[in-house]
């Protein structure tokens, strides 16, 4: 590539995700073509070989997800990218990554569903699937991107969180963000904070692969590093062996949740704009937060005290930040390109504030005018 970081570049959202992943140290990609995510695979196939990384196009998304888990177990940071139909196929193996605590990043570039839906039109219909798509109680981190710069920074963040908490991180993009080209200046690699998983500091014979500690995140040994151990999707004891003992099962599930709860302050990322004196607020995420931002600015220019809370982290749901907005504002609007998914989470905070939905499911981007008009009518 002729372009260097630090230079002004015109990049698509999907390209910026690739740049973010590579900057975070990702050196393995496995996936299956699907609109509107394919550019990520295409760019990875171009870039990885020169970095001694590996790209492989698998036979389906199930295989893509399996392969990135395998690569991560072998110690290499791994990415896959897909859209709704492929994301549905990935769910079982995504659950494996949760249970076996394998760091990896999955990008879902959302398009209209259900089923094949509208393959080239944007939507935000996979939010709850990202949280609860795989079966069973499980912890997971879900981040949402809204601009090309976000695509870079949030993907770096996604890898960092995946490595730090040994959890799959899902990055939700959408067709708008994916294909929007913007001028960006990417930071120099030296200026990017990169977090790697912690390798065991004890000799192999002392290593207990799933031993609890204060963080709830066990050290992770790569396959072939001399720390032979067993990895399974069955509920396992601290040594990684299957167990059905109630006290071991309970401790295992609770630790999976505790490790994320411990990190709430760091994991729950939000962005507040003009919230200081806001009386009404918009809570938005993904591309829609750009429309919301413009609507809020317009409202301000007309003397309305409006503010925006943009959710970068969707799950674990940033309850604290949302609660602050609900306490401060008399009315809150939640615009989404779905029938109302995050609004339920906002309502679960359960304060007296009036929470209003604004939904669009026709494959079209919610416009600033729509949000502005809705704000005026509130």
């Amino acid at each position: 590539m002729s372009e260097k970081n630090g230079q002004r570049r015109l990049l698509q959202g999907n390209e910026a995700i690739v740049e973010g992943a590579l900057a975070a140290g990702c050196r393995f990609f496995a996936g299956y073509p699907i609109t509107p995510a394919s550019e990520i695979a295409e760019m990875m196939s171009l870039r990885l070989p020169a970095l001694n990384g590996t790209f492989i196009q698998m036979e389906d998304e199930i295989a893509g997800m399996g392969a990135i888990i395998g690569a991560s177990l072998a110690g290499v940071k791994s990415l896959t990218a897909t859209s709704g139909p492929g994301f549905s196929l990935m769910q079982e193996n995504l659950g494996f990554a949760c249970a076996a605590e394998v760091p990896c990043v999955v990008v879902n570039v959302m398009r209209v569903g259900p089923s094949t839906g509208l393959s080239t039109s944007p939507a935000q219909g996979d939010v709850m699937q990202a949280r609860w798509g795989t079966h069973g109680d499980h912890p997971v981190i879900v981040l949402a991107v809204s601009t090309v710069v976000d695509c870079f920074a949030t993907t770096v963040q996604a890898f960092n969180l995946a490595e730090k908490y040994r959890v799959p991180v899902i990055v939700l993009s959408d067709e708008i963000v994916a294909h929007t080209r913007e001028t960006v200046v990417l930071p120099d690699p030296a200026d990017i904070m990169v977090i790697d998983r912690i390798h065991p500091g004890v000799p192999p014979e002392w290593y207990i692969p799933y031993e609890d500690n204060s963080r709830g995140v066990p050290a992770m040994a790569a396959m072939g590093s001399g720390y032979r151990h067993h990895v399974t999707g069955l509920i396992h004891d601290v040594r990684g062996f299957p167990t059905e003992r109630p006290e071991e099962v309970d401790a295992f599930i609770r630790r999976l949740f505790r490790k994320i709860t411990n990190g709430f302050a760091e994991i729950q990322i939000t962005r507040s704009v003009m919230m200081e004196d806001a009386e009404i607020a918009v809570i938005a995420y993904g591309a829609v937060s750009r429309s919301a931002l413009r609507a809020v600015r317009l409202a301000r220019s007309r003397g309305i005290r409006a503010g925006l809370l943009q959710l970068i982290t969707l799950f674990p749901f940033p309850r604290k930040a949302v609660e602050g907005v609900l306490r401060q504002c008399r009315r809150v609007l939640v615009p989404e390109m779905n029938m109302g998914q995050m609004i339920r989470e906002v309502k679960r905070v359960n304060l007296a504030t009036e929470i209003v939905r604004h939904n669009r499911v026709d494959g079209q981007f919610i416009t600033p005018a729509e949000i502005y008009d809705h704000l005026l009518s509130m």
Partner: protein
Amino acid sequence: MSEKTNSVRHDYLRHDKKFPHVWCPGCGNGIVLGSLIRAIDKLGLGKDELVLASGIGCSGRMPVYVDFNTLHTTHGRALTFATGIKLAKPALTVITVMGDGDATAIGGNHFIHAARRNIDLTAIIINNQIYGMTGGQYSPTTPYGSFASTAAWGNIEHAFPIAELAVTAGASFVARGTVYHAAMLDGLLARGIAKKGFSVIEVMSNCHTQYGRRNQMNDPVTMMRHFKEKAVSVDRAAKMSAEEMNDRFTIGVLADVDKPNYMEEYQKIRERAQQH
């Protein structure tokens, strides 16, 4: 078994936690595990350099018993995880063990594509012609006319010949053995593991509990006798007619070809990209 054989086995088994195993008395899985250990010992591979990955089912429990880097994946997906491991760390020797339902029903797509890509993995497929762990439902290798818990009136589907399927799909090394021919199996596994490229070793094995019981072969010995009678060496089979081979199957090496494997090809891609 001789003392020597036992001590070899003990060198590789996990002794700290995981016994007794989950398999029925007389199950063929133990024979395959013993054979695998002897093959690995013969090849002189170190435990740290070995990965054993499995899917779901009775065969899926095998990795937990051996002292390698072990991985028990999701149903049918062992080869996908193994592909990731091998590509990320090519120095590792990666072996998968799967059942017939695991490898050729739910994982059938992964199986043919791993063969087509010629990924340097070894796939051991224990073919007991039934879903054992879940209670004897018919699998893609249950013979036509056999009985299973979901084929109460007889199986009307036709069986996949797994080894032949692997040959067609492009595997570098393909062999079939049985748990009766254990000594031969040691050799087939050793050759498969040593082979660069995708190796498939199909092992005909007995599930007297779920398959035999429903098909007039109630005990391991009857099933062993069945394998002994029906197995025909590749050389002998070549001289037999289709009628003679009707309910028989070949054992031995079906394919052994030298061609570049995926990682060798990919390394060339890397060099090309790095010179660019």
